[in-house]
């Protein structure tokens, strides 16, 4: 198992290097200049401009800048934001829990709702429920997040007034970060139910917006995987033993049907980050998605390049965890790890 994890980590290194090259390169390819952005186009003399560029190392050759960035990152120094002057690492750690909380809730929604729906659709194949679920999930899968998020806001926040439009919690509550997950920290801060509820209603719409595509994917994947499993010989054996239908489906069937579903959930960890960029922007969710968008707009080179590196790392760690879960679900793989 350890060897397997190390091997997977080894494979992750080229991925990481690729991510740094792309992050470093792309943001510099975009027209615009962080220094100009900061001092304003008419605001400063060429001397000040040159001095500022030198201060951030932007006057050096690109390759030098890149390798300096890599060297510092390896030493745990991810640079400082040009805009705020704060270390990128701190900014990342301030915002990452918010994204993680949102992403975990969205993925949990997808898994906890998608899997049972998929199972029922498979068991009642070709029923009205099956057709309805498959059509709705196709729509859910195809909806652009930014459009879906706006529709949700329009309906639930503007029309019905049920949910707030933006943020993580009402301004009235002061919750110092502890775990970074507001749903937990409100209890630590002693704010209790009202604060929890406030955090929850702030979370609902973004989680739905972000979770819809994973939910549709999980439901469809569970259905097709379950359909395959339902025809297996061991399902008949399980029934021949005198097990109840529920036990046959949810223990003997689902355990095997989960194997491909786990893979898909793992792959979605990456798209959750992509989705978070859109969702957080729409709902003003103070996570890394919005942070990245703002940094790109400000051409904040250190934040963009290090931020993407850190996000890549997080996604790689999640994928490793998924590989472990995959091995757990599939004993035939365990010996070979």
């Amino acid at each position: 198992m350890i060897a397997f994890l190390l091997r997977r980590l080894g494979v992750a290194i080229p991925t990481l290097i690729g991510a740094t090259v792309i992050a470093f390169g792309l943001i510099r390819l975009v027209p615009g200049d962080p220094v100009l952005h900061m001092i304003g186009e008419r605001g400063a003399s060429p001397e000040v401009y040159a001095e500022m560029r030198a201060r951030y190392g932007l006057d050096r050759p690109l390759t030098t800048q890149y390798f300096l960035f890599l060297k510092n990152a390896l030493n745990g120094d991810f640079g400082e934001s040009i805009v705020s002057g704060q270390p990128v690492w701190h900014e990342f750690m301030d915002r990452f829990p918010a994204t993680l909380e949102l992403g975990l809730i969205a993925l949990s929604l997808a898994v906890l709702i998608g899997i049972p729906l998929g199972v029922v659709a498979a068991v009642r194949r070709n029923s009205l429920f099956d057709y309805a679920l498959m059509s709705v999930s196709l729509v859910g899968y195809s909806m652009p997040i930014f459009w879906w998020g706006l529709i949700l806001i329009l309906f639930f926040s503007v029309k019905l007034g049920l949910t707030p439009v933006s943020g993580r919690i009402d301004f009235a509550y002061d919750v110092p970060p502890w775990s970074g997950f507001l749903l937990i920290d409100v209890w630590k801060a002693g704010e209790g139910w009202p604060a929890f509820k406030s955090a929850l209603v702030h979370l609902v719409l973004p989680a739905i917006a972000l979770g819809t595509i994973p939910l549709a994917t999980v439901a469809r994947m569970t259905r097709s995987s379950m359909l395959e499993v339902l025809g297996e010989d061991y399902m008949r054996t399980a029934r021949a033993k005198g097990l109840s239908r529920m036990r046959v489906i949810f223990v003997h069937g689902l355990r095997n049907a989960l194997v491909p579903v786990i893979t898909v959930v793992g792959l979605m960890a990456g798209s959750i980050v992509t989705g978070a960029v859109l969702t957080e922007t729409i709902f003003s969710w103070p996570g890394i998605g919005r942070w990245l968008v703002e940094s790109v707009l400000a051409r904040d080179y250190p934040v963009v390049q290090s931020g993407i590196l850190l996000i890549s790392l997080a996604v790689i760690v999640v994928n490793l965890l998924v590989d472990v879960a995959y091995a757990w679900a599939n004993p035939r793989l365990r010996g070979r790890l």
Binding site: Y234, A240, K241, G242, R245, R255, N256, N330, P331
Partner: protein, 320 residues
């Protein structure tokens, strides 16, 4: 006592209704072995699934009864069937490697067979005992094995252990050795025989190999295209076959002396099993039967008793 009475089963297919088993009847007592022989598609497996109440959703029992000690299983509720399966009626299947769940250990699957029927105590000890009983070495270690770590013969032994975990009265073995090596086949058959003898179980042994049946069964039922062509005590059917089909099956056995001496091609039965959606008129066998005449082509034969044997044939053979 297990009695199948005038059982007919059909499948709804896209091309129409396909009748797979027609008017099948037999009786089996505890301690006896019934061998059901037939080519693939003769309805053997469907018969056993119908008895277990495990027919696929597109199959329907169109007539008949399955009596188990006076209770009609075809009218039993799903929860009654759940109790009966495993406890009174058990079944093992053709391919043990795919019949065990790949995600659970042998121990889990064995113990589950017992807990499903209310056994709560000493599960582990009982499981070890069962594995020992079916001849698995190091049973304690094997309990934590996964199916893919077992050989085919081992897996079939585990399947048997699982099937007999609650001491069922009847065991249906559907081609239990077809997927196994020849050397293992003999061991598994010997094991089934031993279990049957020591536990006084009724055994239905389904196979396409009439040689296996000759070795194991007390009574033989020969099926073809869903019909019971011949049914009777083993010696009668094997040594004095009345039905041309039975005789042809026996003639095609490679082990027979005439065949061995001849050292030439084995005799075969010309033609193939009929398309069940386009059944032939009259006797189902007539396109392949050397004795067929006009009556065979037009009129389906009725079951008739010849000595101790039931035969469905217009021209039953004289014993040779």
């Amino acid at each position: 006592m297990l009695t199948v009475e005038n059982l007919s089963v059909s499948f709804e297919t896209r091309r129409g209704r396909m009748s797979v088993v027609e008017d099948l009847s037999f009786t089996l007592e505890r301690g006896r072995t019934l061998g059901i022989v037939g080519e693939s598609g003769s309805g053997k497996s469907v018969t056993s699934l119908a008895i277990m109440g495990l027919l696929p959703p597109n199959a329907r029992v169109t007539s008949g009864h399955v009596w188990l000690d006076g209770q009609d299983l075809l009218c039993a509720s799903e929860s009654e069937l759940q109790r009966i399966r495993g406890e009174s009626l058990a079944m093992i299947f053709q391919d043990p490697m795919t019949s065990l769940n790949p995600s659970f250990t042998v121990g889990f699957q064995l113990e589950e067979a017992m807990t499903a029927h209310g056994v709560k105590d000493d599960l582990r000890a009982r499981a070890v005992e069962l594995l020992k009983w079916v001849g698995i070495p190091d049973p304690e270690i094997r309990l934590s094995s996964y199916p893919h770590q077992l050989s085919g013969g081992m897996a079939q032994r585990v399947m048997i252990a699982m099937a007999i975990a609650c001491s069922p009265d009847f065991l249906i073995a559907d081609e239990p050795t077809t997927a196994l090596d020849v050397t293992i086949q003999a061991q598994i058959l010997a094991l089934l025989k031993k279990i049957q003898k020591e536990r006084g179980m009724g055994l239905i042994l389904i196979t396409h190999d009439i040689g296996v049946v000759a070795q194991m069964a007390d009574e033989i039922l020969v099926m073809y295209a869903g019909h019971a062509l011949e049914k009777g005590p083993k010696d009668e059917v094997i040594y004095r076959p009345r039905h041309p089909y039975t005789r042809a099956l026996l003639a095609s056995l490679p082990g027979r002396q005439e065949n061995a001496a001849f050292r030439s091609r084995l005799p075969t039965i010309a033609g193939v099993v009929p398309d069940l959606l386009k059944r032939p008129t009259g006797c189902q066998l007539h396109p392949r039967c050397e004795f067929a005449d006009e009556e065979c082509r037009t009129k389906p034969p009725e079951k008739q008793k010849v000595g101790e044997v039931d035969v469905k044939c217009h021209r039953p053979l004289e014993p040779q």
